[in-house]
């Protein structure tokens, strides 16, 4: 057994995994890593299953001390700064920690979320079979706080190495979306404005959703519709015309019309933007969306096959 103690953790640092799927019909969103591909790659780089539990680190940062070692960890996601044993490194690497060594992860040149995975199973409280933290309730693995001790069931050690950060794992400012499913509640001009205009990320964002600053895109007439399913990536518009993109901890249903829905893969890149960054939506047809999803899944699989030790 190997243990880590948390020395400092900023807000929004949580345990996450590949998500709690199949429970939306009971009001439970998947939760899990905001940037799903990054957590999967951090795990794969250590030979873990892609959806294993790890820590999602916000720009507020995290410091751990290794109580027993040696054990390897990996870091992916945003370009954060990593301090370890007197070294100052970038993210995207596999490191080995020895007993008594500290690891500090803090905001770096780009990105909003960094993923820390552990070689060997991280023991985490499960809720409905998953360690993903559901933010609004704290159910699952939970918020990481100073003083907390994390345990690994089967610690392993492997060679230190730098990992390549693929282009598609960087922040993404052009996001593909399929119009609707309530596009009919928006005037043609409004839809054109939505897809033609720049928007900006605001400070009003958390794991539930990200409010955008940009042109108002108010629906016509129907300000509310019979409550129905919301997805990660739904772009919902309240009566004031402000667009919000729903993220991993979204409410499962709501009555605001959705002007568009982002492709699942683009959400990983959206969440690595920072407040005040610009973004824009590109309309694709459902057929183009499927083709893009398959093309990107193939690129991910090819890269993932090479990152495995």
């Amino acid at each position: 057994m190997t243990r880590f103690q948390v020395l400092a953790a900023g807000p929004h640092v949580t345990l996450q995994d590949g998500g709690r799927r199949g429970m939306m019909r009971f009001g439970v969103p998947a939760s899990g890593a905001l940037d799903r591909k990054a957590l999967a790659l951090a795990n794969l780089a250590l030979g873990n299953p892609p959806g294993a539990a790890g820590i999602e680190v916000s720009v507020a940062g995290l410091t751990l001390t290794c109580l027993d070692g040696p054990v390897s960890v990996s870091l992916t996601g945003g370009g954060f700064i990593v301090e370890h044993a007197g070294r100052r490194l970038g993210g995207w690497r596999v490191l080995t920690l020895r007993a008594g060594e500290d690891l500090t992860i803090r905001r770096g040149p780009w990105g909003s979320w960094c993923y820390l995975a552990f070689a060997g199973g991280l023991k985490a409280p499960l809720w409905l079979g998953s360690a993903a933290t559901h933010g609004p309730t704290g159910f699952g693995g939970g918020q990481i706080g100073a003083g907390q001790v994390l345990e690994l069931a089967n610690p392993r050690q492997m060679a230190e190495r730098a990992l390549t950060c693929p282009v598609w794992a960087r922040p993404r400012s052009v996001l593909h979306a399929v119009a609707g499913p309530q596009d009919r509640y928006f005037a043609t001009e409004t839809l054109k404005t939505f897809f033609d205009s720049p928007f900006h990320v605001t400070d009003a964002w958390d794991r539930m959703g990200l409010r955008l600053r940009g042109p108002l895109v108010a629906p016509e007439g129907a300000l509310s519709i019979p409550s129905q399913a919301i997805l990660r990536g739904s772009v919902q518009v309240a009566g004031d015309g402000v667009a919000t993109v729903l993220l991993s901890d979204h409410q499962t249903t709501g009555g605001y019309p959705k002007i568009a829905t982002l492709l699942a893969d683009d959400i990983d890149g959206l969440v690595q933007l920072r407040p005040r960054d610009a973004l824009r939506f590109t309309a694709v047809t459902p057929e183009e969306a499927i083709a893009l999803a398959r093309q990107r899944a193939a690129a991910f699989a090819a890269f993932a096959a090479r990152i495995v030790p």
Binding site: M24, R25, T137, F139, I225, P226, Q228, G254, T261
Partner: protein, 220 residues
């Protein structure tokens, strides 16, 4: 009842049976949900029933919108076998003043005595229409006309888990301490999030609910 199929992003189809709340549309949602559970397609991920819509989520590596819509149309054409009799759950509620802060206001707004509000609430025939908002929040349709009120002008914070709340035709037993703009008319000790691994949620969508009055002494 012929629905409209809306493709959603690269991984879902929204099946819409009506654009306003309507009992026939809701029954059609439940029928399709059940048929899909009995006959899922390759790549099916999950289905989320709501008042007049069923959202069907799928894996784009295995299928696409057109094939999913084709499968769903096929399910709609199959003659409907009678729905199995829905499970009836009895939900205990304490309506005593400490647990029913809004009961006097509801009574005043409806022109009834508090006892008559309680009697009306107990007489309602409720169905689990959908889950939403938060884990285990089961929307129960069937609040009698006599006690249907719009939600309060402003929400109250920190409303305890187990509160029995009403707004319009809906009733809910809350599972978490959360703000709500609905009217708090009682408290139930029944846990909808059961904490049991093989049966984590008390109700299924489509189940029937009857409320039973209990005294405060019966609360744990």
């Amino acid at each position: 009842m012929q629905p409209v199929f809306h493709p959603v992003a690269d991984h879902a189809v929204l099946v819409e049976f009506a654009d306003q709340i309507d009992p026939a549309a809701h029954a059609a949602v439940l029928r399709l949900d059940q048929a899909l559970a009995a006959q899922p397609f390759a790549g099916f991920a999950e289905a989320i029933p709501a008042f007049v819509t069923l959202l069907v989520d799928f894996d784009p590596a295995e299928t696409d919108h057109a094939r999913v819509i084709h499968h769903l149309r096929g399910l709609l054409e199959v003659p409907v076998s009678a729905r199995p009799a829905p499970v009836l759950h009895e939900v205990p509620v304490c309506y005593e003043p400490d647990f029913a802060p809004d009961l006097p206001d509801v009574a005043r707004a409806c022109g009834l005595t508090p006892e008559a509000v309680i009697a009306a609430h107990l007489a309602g025939r409720y169905e689990v229409a959908m889950y939403g908002f938060a884990p285990g929040y089961a929307y129960l349709s069937g609040v009698p006309e006599a006690i249907r009120l719009d939600r309060k002008p402003s929400p109250k914070r920190g409303v305890a888990a187990g509160s029995v709340i009403i707004a319009g035709p809906q009733c809910l037993v809350t599972t978490l301490t959360m703000p709500t703009g609905w009217w708090i008319i009682g408290h139930s000790p029944l846990k909808i999030l059961t904490g049991e691994t093989d049966h984590p949620f008390r109700f299924k969508v489509g189940d029937h609910i009857a409320f039973r009055r209990i005294r405060a002494e019966a609360l744990p």
